[in-house]
Amino acid sequence: MTAVGAADAPPQGVGASLRRKEDARFLRGRGRYVGDITQAGMLEVAFLRSPVAHARLLGVTKPEGAEDRVFTAGDLLGVGAIRAASNLAGFRVSEQPVLARGKLRHVGEAIAACVAPTRAEAEDLAAACTLDYEELPVVTDMLAARAPDAALIHEHWPDNAFLETRREEDLSDLDGIAAAKVTRRLRTARHCMAPLEGRGVLAEWDPRLEQLIVTSSAQMPHVIRTGLAEILGLDEAQVRVIAPDVGGGFGYKGILLPEEVVSAHLAMRLDRPVRWIEDRLEQLTANANCREHHYVVTAWADREGRLLGVEVDATVDAGAYSSYPFSACLEAAQIGSIFPGPYTLPRFRCRTVSACTNKPPILPYRGVARTGVCYAMETTLDALARQLGIGTDAIRLANLVPPEAMPYRNLVGKVFDSGDYPEALRRAIACFDLDRLRARQAAGEYVGFGLGIFCEQGAHGTSVYHGWGIPMVPGYEQALARFTPDGGLELRTGVHSHGQGLETTLAQVAHEVLGVPTARIRVVHGDTALTPYSTGTWGSRAMVMAGGAVAEACRLLGERALAIGAVLLQAGPEAVELAGGAVRRRDGSAAVALEEIARTWYRRPQHLARDVDTGGLEVTAGYRPDPDTGTHSYACHAVIARIDRDTGAVALEDYVVVEDGGKLVNPMIVDGQVLGGLAQGIGTALYEEMPFDAAGQPLAGTLADYLLPGATEVPDVRLDHMETPSPWTRFGQKGIGESGAIGPPAAIVNAINDALHRFGAELTDLPASPARVLAALEAGRRR
């Protein structure tokens, strides 16, 4: 059903670039975050954290007189460890104690919780504790972690690996057939997610409800609720998680943190509200780690550049523990299944290791493994093209899945729903004057052109996740839609909006179905007591899943309203329709507004028919696309990079993204998503790196040392959209939330290597820092 408003009213439904409803409060500084919320009698928590990467913890001495304000593992009775298991064969599950017990496994691991009326006083208590520990040999490198003499981080394990996976295929004949073969060793740096707002939690016990109320900076509040209930030994109904405004998630805020569990326990135990607000030092050095991969990739191709096979040995530095709910194998499992990328790869061998090291657990970050995989595949393809002497466009066009093959099932069983991948590549390239670029290169300029193309599986559901057996498998997404007695529309959804603009886009979906003006639609989210269960906002799923569920709930609600409206119009059900926010006689002779229908149901029930649907004007509906293997948005990134040969600094001269997210519910919001992700991808490509010294000490403790791209580092990007609907989703929309963060390292390093290879140099490790670029040039000079 299409909304028909006044002829000249600006469109508000699916496809409209509506301004974001939520910005009215954000732009006025009226958002409300955990850090804005206080309670009478509240205590603040500061954590005493491990100063060393690997040690036997022998004891903690509490400050004299403060024994009842400092809590160690031994004080936490009845609190379990965090366990994020997977049933992938051979997975070794770690026990992550919420406060260190017996051993210290990474710098920053929480050892004791100190409570005081202010955070400063709590930090004073932490500073006054003394630690007794015996240092152990440290494992900081994921490759060295597998050495036979490496110290064991979990001592009952035979070696430092959470999981090894193998997809075997004999590729030994390819050497004899292929026109070209390249092997590359590649690394992505460990880095840190850096949402503007860090994590934070305020926990209190409500004695009337006998309920633990946890206000948390969370993007998956229902999953946090489940995890908390399990670990604290509470009925799930005794836990309510509220996620108020959240200043960016990116995956970090889907994780159940030890600090949350401890704060919740202390609130119950002390019968006082307890709050922990993460600071930037904690975030950088103890918590928000992500992205660290190592690859050895070998690829074979024929003379035209058609891939004959790819062999991958991938290692993921998963850190010390398997985090809840995604586990320590999320990245490696993805590598095995997404490495073939958007290509028609015929043969593939892939081995992965999720290595355990004395670093904080690796957590899923926007793009998850895709950013590293895209980097590895795309830079290898360029190396292959250079060896064959063909263009980097030609090698891609020789291998991209053609549009006529859609939907396409690749050799590892991924099903691409729709799209024209080669067209995205051609459109991106057409944005550049490459002849001019080649002339500049010939004149000796250090400039280069790079491409990165990929597809992004989003909104993948039960059939993809159930096999992993991780603590969370997405199923049907539910949404509640109801008319309020004054005719407003309220939507309740278990996904959370923390930058995605769902308060606007879900209202657009409802408007599309019911014709209610978006100004009269409120989206309620971020509270387990008010919303249907959902795994939350992750995996580029909210617009497909919650969008589909809202549409379905609104459709059913519309049917109920139509039936009531027909009675009020004294017409048969077939003589009326729902349009423009009213039930109308099809002959145009009369109409009754939805406000009037709502008023009738709630306040003048005497006008209802005897056989009215007693469910009334409130519907909860579930939705899942069929098939639920996910949508595949895709994009081609293309960039010209210029290198300062004296300093190694890289400047991005021109950046183009051609993107296909299917039907765009709000194109302006999608642009924002792509640009925001792109800034993060530029960080991965050029800036972000958390170095560790040999003792496992993280070396970037502030944002003066940990470089994030800012306004001056992100170029003006040219964005172009294609719009190939997904055949499987409600409006043809595809998940696109992570896309921007995936392509930049591949495209940028390919551009750098296009500039460098004429000087015998090639870059393999991220980020492409000036020091690395200069070292590559120097190595090229020596060659």
Binding site: D646, T647, A704, G710, A771
Partner: protein
């Protein structure tokens, strides 16, 4: 990241400030370096003396061919033209490249110099001028040549009972040439290499190389550098025997480009 407990003193006049200093308190100007150090508990002074309300702490006066810049003058004031003439134009160009405007609004020239972080902008630039740091102690003011002020990493020629009162720089003729170049990957990052070159007609040109892990290197006669920027920069930097080849390349580039900029009469 909250500071350890500390006392806060707000002296009303300079003698009171000096007497507090004798008790081991730590002076605070704009707080853009000390603030984070307090929060990270890297600095845990018993008392912080807030200098910001002292008479004459900020402000610029020109007299007898010298420009006296109160230590509390903010980077933003200098950026916005508080210092007149050619000298002011040069210093405004330096100030506008310090971190972000929010930092420049609070950070002060004297606070930055006295903090003596080798990567800081004023630490790198001021020794290029034939001027002095004015230290105030119990017995009055003492002039310390700027080239001798920073002694090492966060170490200055100030005595424990002295506070930096002002900076005195010579007024420059309009034809003074100036080149300044520093390497930061983004605004706000600490410089990895800074160089500046000043050529005043009738005097030997001077140059400074800074943001090294040592005090700024002052080249009192940089005539050879201006004559052959690339070769001389390479020669000077080779003499420093820097271990990290990337830093060596940056430092060489900084000196080379600062010299070129001086030729181009950069503001």
């Amino acid at each position: 990241m909250k500071p350890a407990p500390f006392g806060y003193a707000r002296p009303g006049d300079w003698p009171e400030a000096l007497s507090l200093l004798r008790d081991g308190a730590r002076p605070l100007a704009g707080g853009q370096s000390l603030g984070p150090m307090l929060n990270l508990r890297l600095a845990q002074p018993a008392t912080v003396i807030d200098l910001r309300h002292l008479p004459g702490f900020a402000g610029v006066a020109v007299q007898d061919g010298y420009c006296r810049i109160g230590a509390g003058t903010s980077h933003a004031e200098i950026e916005d033209g508080a210092i007149p003439g050619r000298l002011g134009a040069i210093l405004a160009g330096v100030a506008r490249r310090i971190a972000y405007r929010a930092v420049r609004n609070r950070g002060t020239i004297g606070g930055s110099l006295a903090h003596a972080d080798p990567a800081a902008d004023w630490v790198a630039v001021l020794p290029c001028f034939d001027g002095a740091a004015i230290a105030l102690g119990a017995s009055g003011e003492r002039r310390i040549p700027l080239a001798d002020f920073v002694l090492g990493l966060m170490e200055t020629a100030l005595r424990p009972d002295e506070v930096l009162r002002a900076i005195e720089l010579p007024v420059l003729p309009p034809e003074a040439r100036w080149g300044h170049w520093k390497f930061c990957r983004k605004p706000g990052e600490f410089s990895k290499a800074t160089a500046c070159v000043l050529a005043v007609p009738g005097e030997p040109p001077r140059a400074v190389l800074a943001a090294l892990d040592m005090p700024p290197l002052v080249i009192a006669d940089a005539g050879a550098l201006l004559a052959a920027p690339e070769a001389e920069a390479a020669r000077i930097v080779a003499g420093l025997a820097l271990r990290d080849p990337w830093r060596a390349a940056l430092v060489r580039t900084a000196l080379h480009r600062a010299a070129l900029a001086a030729w181009e009469m950069e503001e």
